[in-house]
Every structure is written in structure tokens, then in C-alpha cells.
């Protein structure tokens, strides 16, 4: 799959095109060199606005490569999510540059595997584990989560000897909203038939935007919109008008598991939306501004992330409805990372929902970071796309 003309200018046009982690590494290294502490993260539940408000820079830690998994399996069970094994393997082999730069790590009780893996790395860096409420619709969930976020703030302030103010958090909330609205504007070009950008471009943008400040991103966005508008004017698009449009949902997909995106493209499909944390999920909604209780607003926003760790996760269905309406997919591919029980079980609900409500073809792919199942996935994806 490619653009309909050769030599299309990349969306983010710098020396890191195609290498999103190198781009963010340079960004974080620069920040740290300027004296800012770095906070390593594993998950979208970490409240970025609070981390920034205490003067720190967030860094997403490595978790997407197969390479460190054999080292991890010397301690962790083989039958565990590859994201967790990879994260742990990176740390014990000392090969995650972001972890190397981190002055503290924020973790959450999102799933059994991560929760218990964090215990094994808690001695490497000052670490704060956030007890995440799992029933998002209960009245106390928000206040419990707000308390946890306040405690995180206290931990970061103590660890770094800095302090964050309510005004600072409020400013970060507003900055996040500006950023999220801009990203959603970019997504509008993925809604088009055919789309004007590739999954790699969407993925790279998500990757950078979770880490970089709005201030840093504003000139980049300016260039992005110029590039896209130029594409539109010149009739440049990605794939072909007849390419089946695929919505990819489920577990985070990055690094070695982007094989699934590649296979979809090689089978003739075009990935128009990625609703996981590694894709669009963090940017789809705004944080309430000027509430007088910025931590409460942040708590509310993060608690609304429709991760399968929540029960019941009804928001995932309502968000999925919106994504389907906007991006008009012809098929849905759900990626479940091996042994991720919560996404795996929830997949049954998702399948039932998309079939009953939309009568869309749905395919669940359980995979890991190895290359071993590429041909098997290809066969299944080809069969799915043929059925459209």
C-alpha cells in the first residue's frame, strides 16, 4: 500500500521520518539536558498534565520489541502478555534509553501482569504505583482516583524537589485540549475516502504527541496541515478508492506488533483508524476546563479512558460507535496481545456489538511480538478482506 503518486512529503518532515522513538528520544534528552526531570510511563492512565505541572517531562518506556523477551522469560512466565515481558526485558538488559533517562516511574494497577511485574522493577527507580479504580461508573471512583492523582503529585514533588500548582495543572489541561483538537483535525483527513495519510503517519503523530508539549507541537502542526492540504489540493491519497477500510481496535499496537498493520496493507486493506491507546484513544476527548478543581477534572478525564481493565467497559462500545460512524470502516480487526485476558474476554462483547449493530466483518487476532504467526495472520486477514 502506498500513496497514489511517488515521493510524497512525509507528514512530520524531519530527519526522524519512520523512526518515532528516535524523535522522542531526542526531544526528551534535550529536555533533560535543560534540567527537567523525566518521568517514565507505561500506560495512558498516567496523568500527563500533573506530571508536566510539576515541571517534569513524560517519557513512554520501551515495551514493543521482541528482542528483550527471552531475557524477561528467565524470570517471568512465558505465558504472559508480550508488552509486559518486553518492558521487563528492556529493564533487566538495560536497553531502554527512556528508562535510562527516567528519574522516576509511574505505574498503575491496570492488569494482573503489569501490576506484579512492577514489583520486580520497583527497586530500579523511585516508583509510584497508582491504584486504579476498576468500576468507572461508581460514584466514588472519581474521588478515589483524584486522591490517587494528588498522591502522585506529592510523590513527584518530593522526588524532584519541585512543586506544582492548581494554576499550573489548569494551564496544562488547556494545553492538552488544544493539542487534542489539533490531532482530531488531522484525523479528519483519515476519515476521507480514500484517506490522505498512512497508518505510519498516524502512529508517529500519536507517539510524539503523547510526550511533547503543545508549545513544541504547534509549529509541527502548522507544517502538518500545510502538507495535508497540499495533498488534498493535488489529489494525493493513500491506498486506492477501492481498498477496504479497516478499523483496528484492542490492545496497544507498536513496534514488532505493527506487523498486523503491515499485513492488512499487504492484503490490500488500508488502516483508517486505530482506536487503541497507541493510536487515537488518548486524543479523542477533552478535559473539562476552569472547573476550579483541575485534579478532579484530570481524574474524570483519565477515568473515562475505555480500557478493558474497566468493568463494565461500556464506554468502549460508545466510543467505538463514534469511531465507526466517523471513519466508515468496511471491517474491524481486533488485536489481542497473547495472554491479555481482559481484552481477550472483552473481544466477545466487541464482536457481538459490531456484528449486531453494524453487521461489519470482525476478526480477532491473538498475537505476540514474534514473526512466527505472520503467515497465519495473513491468511486470516486475506480471508476477511475477501469477504467484503
Amino acid at each position: 500500500m502506498m500513496f497514489n503518486v511517488p515521493d510524497v512529503k512525509p507528514l512530520i518532515n524531519d530527519e526522524f521520518a519512520g523512526e518515532p522513538s528516535k524523535r522522542t528520544l531526542q526531544y526528551i534528552s534535550n529536555k533533560r539536558a535543560s534540567g527537567m526531570p523525566v518521568v517514565g510511563l507505561y500506560c495512558g492512565y498516567a496523568p500527563l498534565e500533573v506530571i508536566r505541572a510539576v515541571g517534569a517531562v513524560p517519557a513512554i518506556l520501551c515495551s514493543f520489541a521482541d528482542k528483550p523477551i527471552p531475557a524477561a522469560e528467565e524470570v517471568l512466565p512465558a505465558n504472559l502478555c508480550p508488552l509486559i515481558k518486553s518492558s521487563y526485558g528492556y529493564i533487566i538488559t538495560d536497553s531502554c534509553p527512556f528508562f535510562g533517562l527516567s528519574d522516576a516511574v509511574v505505574a498503575e494497577t491496570t492488569c494482573d501482569g503489569k501490576k506484579k511485574m512492577f514489583e520486580l522493577i520497583s527497586s530500579y527507580r523511585p516508583m509510584f504505583v497508582m491504584d486504579l479504580p476498576q468500576l468507572p461508573d461508581e460514584a466514588e471512583a472519581r474521588s478515589n482516583w483524584a486522591t490517587m492523582i494528588s498522591k502522585l503529585k506529592g510523590f513527584l514533588e518530593n522526588t524532584f524537589g519541585t512543586s506544582g500548582t492548581s494554576e499550573g495543572i489548569e494551564a496544562e489541561i488547556q494545553a492538552t485540549n488544544i493539542k487534542n483538537r489539533l490531532i482530531r483535525r488531522v484525523y479528519e483527513y483519515a476519515e476521507k475516502k480514500p484517506p490522505l495519510l498512512s497508518w505510519q503517519e498516524l502512529y508517529e503523530l500519536s507517539y510524539l504527541a503523547q510526550v511533547a508539549t503543545t508549545e513544541h507541537l504547534l509549529p509541527i502542526f502548522k507544517e502538518i496541515f500545510e502538507t495535508i492540504e497540499e495533498r488534498e489540493n493535488k489529489g494525493i491519497y493513500y491506498g486506492s478508492p477501492s481498498s477496504p477500510r479497516v478499523l483496528v481496535t484492542g490492545c496497544p499496537v507498536g513496534g514488532d506488533s505493527t506487523k498486523v498493520y503491515r499485513i492488512i496493507e499487504e492484503a490490500g486493506g488500508v488502516v483508517v483508524a486505530m482506536d487503541a491507546c497507541s493510536g487515537m484513544k488518548p486524543f479523542l476527548s477533552d478535559i473539562e476546563e476552569k472547573t476550579g478543581d483541575p485534579i478532579g477534572a484530570v481524574a474524570q478525564h483519565y477515568l473515562e479512558i475505555p480500557c478493558s481493565c474497566m468493568t463494565p467497559n461500556t464506554r468502549r462500545l460508545t466510543e467505538l460507535d463514534k469511531v465507526i460512524d466517523r471513519f466508515q470502516p468496511d471491517a474491524i480487526v481486533e488485536v489481542v496481545l497473547h495472554a491479555c485476558h481482559s481484552y481477550n474476554i472483552e473481544a466477545y462483547k466487541i464482536m457481538t456489538h459490531v456484528k449486531e449493530e453494524y453487521n461489519l466483518p470482525y476478526l480477532k487476532i491473538v498475537t505476540d511480538y514474534s514473526e512466527g504467526d505472520v503467515e497465519q495472520i495473513r491468511t486470516r486477514v486475506e480471508a476477511l478482506l475477501e469477504s467484503i
Binding site: 506484579k116 511485574m117 514489583e119 520486580l120 461508581e138 466514588e140 485476558h341 481477550n344
Partner: protein, 392 residues
């Protein structure tokens, strides 16, 4: 190898009482006929004192049979804990009598698999999911959990049309403490070398707690104790003085997973302690009496259960220290049910702790409810015992 129990009088003489499932079934049926509502449970975090104080009967729902798993796997992933698959399969095949008899069901967010499985059964019965905090050492944790317990009370009041009085709850707290102290008298025998009871008898006695109350339970324990005293006086024991003594830790072991206990026995070992929820863990709990806030006391006691769903779960190491000191095992066997990530990852800590602090070997056995791995487990258990032999 083993001293057979042939010729030795059973610990529980009444044949009706001796069959654990039958007596439990009868007990629940009787209670139901008397008009008591039944509340189905899947986990030790459900506060049974609260349920009892509201006039309801807590029952553990079926979860330990291979038989229901194929039906469950039509919807649930195969790569999931057999206990969760079995529980779901029992419901799908409508074969768990206790579930059928339940007027309400309580679930907890203990693990990913259960939490998400509950979503698939929540529409079948009035079901209440308790949001279990996972950081037991956090300052607010007890307030959070008390709030969940309070909401459970509201749910039960509404669903079962009953109410809770602080006095009844206080009385149930005393009752649990009394039972747990009595149970401890029985556990004292497990410290004997050689041990005078088999693992099956340990299970039988543990399950008596569900069907007998107050003086009746005390009476049973006293009869059992005198039966054991008599065995000791006659020199009757299970295994020999040199049989390897095994502490079994980890996931709940019941029904088809009891194959592990059976294999330990067949390989010449004796099970002297079972740490899991299905074993002794919950009986070591003492609930604060006359605290003025019995709901908080109940919340505190359940929260102290050292399950691997807690992080960090230091209390499990403390409990193991006490159990190792008391029951003098020669080895620890950590049973991990297939795909139970929490116990599986925690196993690494357990092994290190048991080896370093106590100098004991620790064998992790990952298994499910099928029979396919029996010979493989046997080989590993036999190898463990041979190693113990070499060290002597």
C-alpha cells in the same frame, strides 16, 4: 510408602456429614426452605459475616471441574485460568446447583479474568461487583474497601429485602473468630511429625465450617480432636516419620486440581499445610471485636487476606514464614493455575524467599483441571523428593 488409613476410624463418623458436597447441599436446601436467601460467592474477599448477619447463607459456587470447561471455551479464551472457565461453564450448562439456588451473586475485581467473566454472567442474577483496592499498604485503602462493603450491604438490603443491624454483625464477627480459633486447634495437629491426618481429612474438616455453627461446630471439632488424640495414642499416623512434609501454597486447589495433592501423596509425601484460600489462609484471620464499627472490622479482616492480587503482597511472605515455622515443611510446592498471571509472576518472589530465608526447596507447578499433565507433575514431584532424600 504411605500408611493406609484402612482400619483407622474416620475422623467424621457420621456418614451423612462425612460427604462434603452432600452435606453442603443439604445444608443449603434446609436453609432455603427455612426462608433464608442464598448468596453465591467466588472468592474469599466477600465478607461472609455481613452476608450471614443479613440472614442470608453464603455459598461457594462451583468452579473446580474440567467437565464444564469445553462449553466455557465456546465463549471464553482457552488460554485462561481453569477456575474462571469452569465457573463460567457451570453457569452456561446450568449445572451448578448452588448458583441455581442463589438469590444474588457477589464478584470482586480480584483478577482480569474473573472481572471480565463476571460481565458475561451479570445479567443472569442480581450480581454485585466489589471494587477491590489493590494496594494494601495505601493509607486510604481501608476507607475505600469499607465503602465497597457498605455498598454491598445496600445491594443486599435492596435485593434480599433484609436489613443489617450492628449487633447481628458483631455477633457474626464473634462467631467467625470462635470458628477460626477452633479450626486452629485442629491445625495444631498438622504440626505433628508424623502427621496424624491425610490431606483429604484436612479438606473435610475445613469444609465443615460452612455447614456447622456455634456449639455444633465446637462439638464436631472436639470429636475430631479426640479421634486424632486416639490415633496418636495408638501410634497411628499418615505417612512415616521420614515422609517429606509439604506445604502447598499458591492458587486455590480444589476439585480436579486436587490431583496435585494426590500426586504428592502417591510420591510418598505428606501435605502438612495448605496456604491457599481453599486451605488454611482465611482461618488465620481474626476480626476485631467490639470495635464500635463492625463493618470496618469486617472490611479490615478481608483486606488482610494475602492474595497475589495485592501489590506488593508482603503479607503472603509473612504468612509463609509463620506457617513454615509452625508446620516444619521439608519443601514448598507453589501451585499456579494455568494463565493465573498474578500467582505466576509472584511465584518468583515466593521461591526466592523460601529458598533464601528458610533454605527450603520450592517447586512451582503450573497446571489446570485436565489429567494430561499428571505424569509430568509426578516426575517433578518425585525428583523433588529424591533431592530431599539426598540432602539428608
Amino acid at each position: 510408602m504411605q500408611t493406609a488409613l484402612a482400619g483407622i476410624p474416620p475422623l467424621i463418623e457420621n456418614a451423612r456429614i462425612a460427604d462434603p458436597i452432600r452435606r453442603f447441599l443439604e445444608y443449603v436446601l434446609n436453609k432455603r426452605e427455612q426462608g433464608n436467601p442464598v448468596v453465591g460467592l467466588y472468592c474469599g474477599y466477600a465478607p461472609v459475616e455481613l452476608i450471614r448477619a443479613m440472614g442470608a447463607v453464603p455459598v461457594s459456587l462451583c468452579s473446580a471441574s474440567q467437565w464444564t470447561i469445553p462449553t466455557a471455551e465456546e465463549i471464553l479464551p482457552a488460554n485462561l485460568c481453569p477456575m474462571i472457565k469452569s465457573s463460567f461453564g457451570f453457569i452456561r450448562t446450568n449445572t451448578c446447583f448452588f448458583y441455581a439456588a442463589s438469590d444474588a451473586v457477589i464478584g470482586e475485581t480480584t483478577c482480569d479474568g474473573k472481572k471480565k467473566m463476571f460481565e458475561l454472567i451479570a445479567h443472569l442474577k442480581p450480581t454485585f461487583i466489589m471494587d477491590l483496592p489493590q494496594l494494601p499498604d495505601d493509607a486510604e485503602v481501608l476507607d475505600r474497601w469499607r465503602e465497597s462493603v457498605l455498598k454491598l450491604r445496600d445491594f443486599l438490603e435492596k435485593t434480599l429485602q433484609t436489613s443489617l443491624s450492628a449487633d447481628r454483625l458483631e455477633a457474626e464477627i464473634r462467631e467467625t473468630n470462635r470458628k477460626n480459633r477452633l479450626m486452629d486447634r485442629f491445625f495444631a495437629y498438622l504440626a505433628c511429625r508424623p502427621i496424624p491426618v491425610s490431606w483429604r481429612e484436612i479438606y473435610d474438616v475445613i469444609t465443615l465450617e460452612h455447614v456447622a455453627n456455634g456449639d455444633e461446630f465446637q462439638d464436631l471439632i472436639e470429636k475430631i480432636s479426640s479421634g486424632i488424640d486416639q490415633r496418636i495414642a495408638l501410634g497411628q499416623c499418615f505417612g512415616t516419620f521420614s515422609s517429606p512434609r509439604i506445604l502447598v501454597s499458591g492458587c486455590p486447589v480444589g476439585g480436579d486440581a486436587c490431583k496435585v495433592l494426590q500426586i504428592i501423596e502417591e510420591a510418598g509425601g505428606v501435605v502438612v499445610a495448605m496456604e491457599a484460600c481453599s486451605g488454611m489462609k482465611n482461618y488465620f484471620v481474626r476480626i476485631t471485636e467490639e470495635s464500635g464499627d463492625p463493618l470496618r472490622a469486617v472490611a479490615e479482616s478481608t483486606l488482610s487476606i494475602p492474595c497475589s492480587c495485592m501489590t506488593p503482597n508482603r503479607r503472603r511472605l509473612d504468612l509463609l514464614d509463620k506457617m513454615i515455622a509452625r508446620f516444619s515443611p521439608d519443601a514448598v510446592i507453589d501451585v499456579v493455575l494455568h494463565a493465573c498471571h498474578a500467582y505466576n509472576v509472584e511465584s518468583h518472589k515466593i521461591r526466592k524467599h523460601v529458598q533464601k530465608k528458610h533454605g527450603l526447596p520450592c517447586l512451582k507447578i503450573e497446571t489446570d483441571y485436565s489429567k494430561g499433565d499428571i505424569e509430568q507433575i509426578r516426575t517433578r514431584v518425585e525428583a523433588l523428593f529424591e533431592n530431599l532424600e539426598l540432602k539428608k
